[in-house]
């Protein structure tokens, strides 16, 4: 059985985001637990702040091999197929720019690919000096008994400064946890059924 990060305590899971100073400090500031850690992923902790960061994540099981799912996340042309409000993704070397479509227009979020383990994990962190401080990670594990792949995505971000407005606009009032979960479900639909379900009765309807 592959080691599951869900077996790690809160602090370790947050650190497993392999994040820079912000989160590490956040984890260290966390008061010593009065009880032994449980088996749940750190982000399901009752508290919602990890230092200055907010963390959200979700796991979805997709009936597809890890390699196929990894390809989807690695291919800038496919990301826009299932990530809502994403206009384009530009890749050059390690640098990955996410062009986000907001009601105020498009704006780029510059990140670096900080981890790549083929068919296992990918992580991106906002570029140094970027307006938005964000870190996202996708991990793939074999689901039990041939049920496919458990796809876990989580995001840690530091809401700050003038950027909050932008960020909020980008999310159009939606909680990033919900947004991320919905993206994962779209990915699941695309891989399992070849399309994304809609109740629209005509092309272009909502």
């Amino acid at each position: 059985m592959p080691r599951r990060s869900s077996g790690l305590p809160v602090a370790a899971t947050v650190l497993a985001l392999s994040i820079g100073a912000g989160l590490a400090v956040g984890a260290a500031m966390k008061s010593a637990p009065r009880r032994p850690p449980d088996s749940a992923p750190g982000r399901t902790a009752r508290r919602s702040h990890f230092g200055g960061y907010q963390v959200a994540g979700r796991t979805v099981t997709i009936d597809a091999p890890r390699s196929r799912i990894f390809q989807m996340w690695r291919d800038p042309n496919r990301l826009t197929d299932f990530m809502e409000g994403l206009a384009a993704v530009q890749v050059s070397g390690d640098s990955v720019t996410w062009v986000v479509q907001s009601p105020d227009g498009r704006f780029p979020v510059e990140t670096r690919l900080v981890e790549e383990r083929p068919d296992e994990a990918l992580a991106w962190r906002s570029a140094e000096g970027a307006d938005i401080q964000i870190e996202a990670k996708v991990q793939l594990r074999d689901a039990p008994a041939g049920r496919g792949t458990e796809v876990e995505a989580h995001v840690a971000w530091r809401p700050q400064g003038g950027i909050v407005g932008h960020w909020a606009a980008m999310l159009r009032g939606t909680d990033p946890a919900i947004r991320g979960k919905q993206d994962l479900k779209r990915l699941k639909m695309l891989l399992e059924t070849g399309e994304i379900a809609t109740s629209a009765n005509r092309k272009g309807d909502d």
């Binding site: 009936d63 059924t193 399309e195 994304i196 809609t198 109740s199 009765n201 005509r202």
Partner: protein
């Protein structure tokens, strides 16, 4: 096209709305030749199921001809098909287990939030129902966009009248699954609350599955007659103490299995029902579970409880003690229609199952509001309404039993 649209409690209208189009690759467009009103539609008509929006097209029991296909549809133009009311992808974990009404991929992601919140998990897509189940435009219309048309619709050979196969879309498999969930053993008594279409098909199925006797409970003489015609014993709950009668009719043991084919809008003047009805009306999320309470009290120790009747919210005064102390088993759910259509079509073609005996009225789709009003208000005579799009408006054509 013309379609029956919902505008609020007891307000449905036939409107002209845009025709549907192929949107996704696996879609097909069906031209509807027959469509029915279901007891589930009455929950929408009474506005006790949340998540409808004015203008929504209702209807989830329909069949017709394929007029357009998406590139990944396996249907051909001209195919005659019955469409299951449950929308299922055929590829997810649940569809793989035959649990089609639990499909993970048919409810649009944004619409999944409500049921995740209310039920802990997102439910699948259904035609012509709540936006919680996707808000898919329904089949009381001239045309329907059918997603996943390569796995849902069942192709019907020509020469078989619509009315013989239409109910494969919902109530026939629903009655069948309700009986199957009773796990019927030799010598078993099955008691069925509700002699609407679902109850009637459950009675027919339970007898086919070898029940020793089926006891049907309702208060409409017309509907009880239909049950009697199928071979059931009947109890009119306005005349008889149901629990006592059931004990006496089962040698003091109680029914081995019970079926609640009433759902969240139980009738009658029992005090618990009136309390429930008041709470339902003021919208505190309490369903009316009177029939279910009776069923739980009636069923024998270690017996089986099958609940095809629809519930949407919370229940008060649920007899939890009876459930636990008697060691009951409960099975329920929206029907896994796709799991049963092939077998049931075969049984229809073999003449083992008649589906037409309960049709009481035939209308033009143009007269759908009349159909709703009477199927809701005159249940003794109006047992099942079948409508034809395109037909001229006119008085209802009676059924076989007058």
């Amino acid at each position: 096209m013309r379609a029956l649209t919902w505008h609020g409690k007891h307000d449905v209208r036939v409107d002209t709305v845009p025709d549907p189009q192929i949107v996704n690759p696996r879609d097909a467009i069906i031209e509807v030749t027959a469509t029915a009103i279901c007891g589930s539609d009455l929950h929408l008509y009474d506005a006790v199921i949340p998540g409808l929006q004015p203008g929504d097209i209702l209807g989830h029991e329909f069949m017709g001809r394929v007029v357009e296909t998406g590139p990944k549809s396996t249907l051909k133009k001209g195919d005659r098909v019955v469409v299951p009311f449950t929308i299922s992808c055929g590829a997810c974990f649940f569809c793989g287990q035959g649990q089609f009404s639990a499909c993970d991929n048919s409810n649009p992601v944004e619409k999944q939030e409500a049921s995740e919140l209310l039920y802990g998990h997102a439910v699948s897509g259904l035609f012509g129902y709540s936006h919680m189940t996707g808000g898919y435009p329904g089949g009381q219309a001239e045309y329907v966009r059918v997603p996943f048309s390569d796995v849902g619709p069942i192709v019907i050979p020509d020469g078989i009248p619509d009315e013989q196969v239409l109910f494969l879309s919902d109530i026939l498999p629903t009655g069948w699954m309700a009986a199957e969930n009773c796990d019927i053993q030799p010598g078993d008594t099955v008691a069925v609350w509700g002699c609407g279409p679902v109850g009637l098909f459950a009675i027919q199925s339970a007898l086919l599955m070898g029940a020793h006797q089926v006891i049907a409970i309702d208060h409409y003489p017309g509907r009880l007659d239909l049950a009697r015609g199928l071979g059931a014993k009947v109890i009119d709950y306005t005349q008889t103490h149901v629990l006592e009668a059931l004990m006496e009719m089962t040698g003091g043991i109680g029914p081995d299995a019970v079926i609640d084919a009433v759902g969240m809008e139980s009738h009658g003047f029992a005090p618990d029902r009136i309390m429930d009805a008041v709470k339902q009306k003021i919208g505190v999320g309490a369903d009316n579970i009177h029939a279910l309470r009776m069923a739980l009290m009636a069923v024998r120790k270690g017996g089986r409880v099958s609940i095809p009747g629809v519930y949407g919210g919370m229940a008060d005064k649920f007899p939890m003690g009876a459930l636990m102390e008697k060691g009951l088993q409960v099975r329920t759910g929206q029907t896994h229609v796709q799991k049963y259509t092939r077998e049931l079509l075969h049984r229809i073609l073999e003449g083992e199952i008649d589906t037409t005996f309960l049709i009481s009225h035939r209308l033009s789709l143009e007269d759908a509001p009349t159909g709703y009003r009477n199927f809701h208000g005159k249940q003794n005579e109006w047992t099942k309404v079948v409508m034809t799009p395109g037909a001229a408006s006119g008085p209802a054509q009676g059924g076989d039993h007058g």
